[in-house]
Amino acid sequence: MKTKKIINDGANAVDEMLEGVLAAHSAKVFALDHSPRSIIARDGPRPGKVGMVIGGGSGHEPSFLGFVGKGLADAAAIGNVFASPPPDPIIECTKAVNNGAGVLYMYGNYAGDVMNFDMAAEMVAMEDIEVRTVLTTDDVASAPADQRDKRRGVAGNVFVFKAAGAACDKMLPIDECERIARKANDRTFTFGVALSPCSLPQTLKPNFTLGEDEMEVGMGIHGEPGISKEKLKPADAITDELMDKILDEMAAPKGDRVAVIVNSLGSTPLMELYIMMRQVKKRLDQAGLALHLSLVGNYCTSLEMAGASITVMHLDAELQEMIDHPCDCAMFRAG
């Protein structure tokens, strides 16, 4: 049985999606003529500003291209579904947003992305563009706490990118932008569960299987298996399991402030996310943490996968300022 999707030829899904994005959001973003998978902010890159290039595979919308715009990323390099972009569009993004102050690469920590972005960085270095790379590693499910650099980047991207994008928008020098980006990543924690699979547009076949009453704890945003399969539990119990781990790792002192994302992996609707949000708030209250800001909805998806993740960012005064900084992107406005 094939998954039903509103697509034409699955092989063209990414390029056709991009055409639609450009049609809908031409006021905010454009694609480079000579590199149609390089999406650039109309308002953002400017003299003296550190350029910020994000990117990754498609299928995670609004990540990554939806976060291109004033106050956030200057450009996104777009890959095939669940596949890192090759170096070329990354290089073209880099050149398009380089204004002499250096360029920050930010993306999730996946082998493919690392290889492709590193190749791009090597090549633009030959043209004397200074590139700094900050990988996001917010997924607590993907490696033990003492191997943080092995972890994947998932929905926490949104906060980490947002903080870094604000630093760039405030015209801070590249050292500062990099420092803030790293701090944002260090203080951001995500954990999620998947309830049902998604299908790639080219195959229309579910990319994994789960029993009728099972959920996958720690599922990756490409359907990579997680930590364990468990019996589906009530929303409060799921939220507790995720928050236990996050709060434990975050170890935030009472009175501190946090920002939260309750993120749908694709098909889990707002009703369920807000039911989780209710329990997130209870847990924060119990931990004596103040909820500064919440995003609830589709932020980092896996096509139509069912499930959700919780992200908590442990704020300090600086990160709070960055998170509150306005941004105006194709698919995301804040501040």
């Binding site: 092989a11 595979g57 890959g79 095939n80 579904v81 669940f82 596949a83 890192s84 972009p85 090759p86 170096p87 070329d88 996946y110 082998a111 493919g112 290889m115 492709n116 190749m119 499910a141 993907s142 490696a143 092995k150 994947r152 790639l200 080219q202 195959t203 076949k205 990319n207 994994f208 720690g218 990756g220 490409h222 359907g223 990579e224 298996p225 997680g226």
Partner: protein, 212 residues
């Protein structure tokens, strides 16, 4: 085949493209178990683009290095992902290793093959036992090396390489991954073949067929 021309290499890539098209669903299935279910799509898309670009009329006059470099760039830009940089590096290294030659001997091709394996290792920094395509490439390269030393024919060399790659791919079943997407899986990866190792074996078999 005692002498390999650019045209032969082009046929070889066409044969690889055919094999990957046939194995697309199978490779996606393998990747679905421990990865993100797209490896077959990447390999099919990558090599069909390579084959298309190598079928362009202005390529026919090319030398082997140009063929390899065209394959590298085509594959990389079509695919991205993990496999893009890995295979692109492999083909670039193969191109470099035969630089200046217009036809290749079996021994030249063996050197190119070994350079490919080395390129993938350099790019991905994986070791034997990490449950990646390296577990197919390294034993295959060793088989090529020893067959070459024994003065084997190209057909023999590639047959040994294919056998070694198949055994290497099979061996990944027992491994815990420590590179790539499945590195987070721990014990749950045991019992499943690494998709990149599987595609490596298919690729090497198709090389043999394409140059046979």
């Amino acid at each position: 085949m005692s002498e390999i021309t650019a045209a032969n290499l082009i046929s070889m890539f066409a044969e690889i493209a055919k094999a990957m098209a046939e194995s697309k669903a199978h490779l996606c299935e393998l990747d679905g178990v421990i990865g993100d279910a797209d490896h077959g799509i990447a390999m099919d898309l990558g090599f069909s683009t390579v084959a298309t670009n190598l079928a362009a009329p202005d390529i026919t006059a090319a030398d082997p290095t140009t063929v390899f470099n065209t394959a590298a760039k085509s594959f990389l830009n079509a695919v991205g992902a993990s496999s893009g940089p890995l295979y692109a590096t492999a083909f670039m290294r193969a191109g470099a290793s035969v630089k200046g030659k217009t036809v290749l001997t079996a021994s030249d091709f063996a050197d190119a093959f070994i350079a490919m394996a080395k390129g993938i290792q350099d790019r991905g920094k994986a070791e034997i036992g990490d449950k990646t395509m390296i577990d197919a490439w390294v034993p295959a390269a060793e088989a090529v090396e020893s067959a070459k030393t024994q003065g084997a024919s190209l057909a023999e060399i590639l047959d040994k390489a294919g056998k070694a790659a198949e055994a290497g791919a099979e061996a990944t079943k027992a491994m815990i991954a420590s590179k790539g997407r499945s590195a987070r899986l721990g014990e749950r990866a045991i019992g499943h073949i690494d998709p990149g190792a599987a595609s490596t074996a298919i690729l090497i078999r198709a090389m043999g067929k394409g140059l046979g």
